[in-house]
Amino acid sequence: MAKNLITIEESLCKGCFLCADACPKDILSLDKSKVNAKGYNPIQCTDMDACTACAICGRICPDSVIRVERDA
């Protein structure tokens, strides 16, 4: 079954947390198990099924890290 999807370009993420703070579903958090080449913990989605594809995370990210797809 197709569903809403966000794709995170982890190598570009600076772990600023703006997306996680803005997400109305509260499903974004820093992945403390990873450090990218820039030295940041990248963001991760903890509950993809809850995503409504509102794209607030994508729009607020200064580094264009997140691509958002809606189940159509």
């Binding site: 999807l5 570009l12 600023c16 580094d63 797809e69």
Partner: protein, 253 residues
């Protein structure tokens, strides 16, 4: 089947941005890039980068670009636009660049009514050089050169650029916006697009002042810095359209 509802704009290059985590410059770059793509002028646009953290902006916008001496971007833009008037020309300037060393250039570009667009990023500090006090720094705001906070008695009150520019008879469109949340980001994009539309239609000088954060210079985590735009900057720098000589009824001083 799924539909892409948001992705990186092709108006930006693949170069990773050199800005600090959570810096508003990245958000504002995206809005400029998306506007140029949506107006179908990206391939015909020349960006003028300033001195400041956005000194490398010509690497990030997927159009032609040059970089000007500190504060002189409006003078360079004037020259380019007058020699090749069919190009879309914009300057991208910080408040140290535009409101301090470049005060003469910005005022006289508007005074001449030159037909280009200015994206003015007001983060109330000199980010690149280490968070020093700018003319736009708020009273009591602590910076590396005002460690006890800006004092009116010795440095006056912060300059209000949009209000000042709105008094210039040949300026066409002046608006102040903010990027601290998605609702305001959407309004900022509208203003930026309108400014470029005015230029495309030959309507004259346009400037969009964007209230922005400098989390590193302000010594705040990005989420807190975004809140400081709303709670600290906005009360002193009210948002809104300060001049629009082509609006219904022709507002403007």
């Amino acid at each position: 089947m799924s539909k892409v509802v948001y992705e990186k704009s092709r108006g930006l290059t693949d170069a990773p941005l050199t800005y600090c985590p959570g810096c508003s410059h990245g958000i504002i770059h995206k809005l400029v890039a998306e506007s140029l793509v949506e107006l179908d002028v990206l391939e015909n646009t020349i960006a003028i980068a300033p001195v400041g953290c956005s000194v490398l902006a010509y690497n990030f916008f997927n159009c032609d670009g040059v970089q000007a001496a500190h504060g002189r971007a409006p003078a360079v833009a004037t020259g380019i636009k007058r020699v090749i008037p069919d190009k879309i020309v914009f300057t991208y300037q910080g408040d140290g660049d535009l409101a301090s060393i470049g005060t003469a250039e910005i005022i006289h570009a508007a005074h001449r009514g030159d037909n280009f667009t200015v994206i003015f990023v007001n983060n109330a500090t000199y980010g690149m050089t280490g968070g020093q006090m700018a003319p736009t720094t708020l009273i009591n705001q602590k910076t590396s050169t005002s460690p006890y906070g800006r004092q009116e008695a010795t440095t006056g009150k912060p300059i209000k650029v949009s209000e000042l520019m709105a008094q210039i008879p040949s300026a066409a469109y002046i608006e102040r916006v903010s990027v601290h949340d998605v609702q305001h980001i959407a309004k900022t994009k509208k203003a930026i697009k309108k400014a470029f539309e005015y230029q495309i239609e030959g309507k004259g000088f346009s400037m969009v002042e964007v209230l922005a954060s400098c989390p590193i210079g302000w010594n705040m985590p990005p989420v807190e810095a975004a809140k400081f735009i709303a709670g600290g900057l906005m009360p002193y720098y009210p948002l809104g359209c300060y001049r629009d000589i082509h609006a219904e009824g022709g507002s403007g001083a």
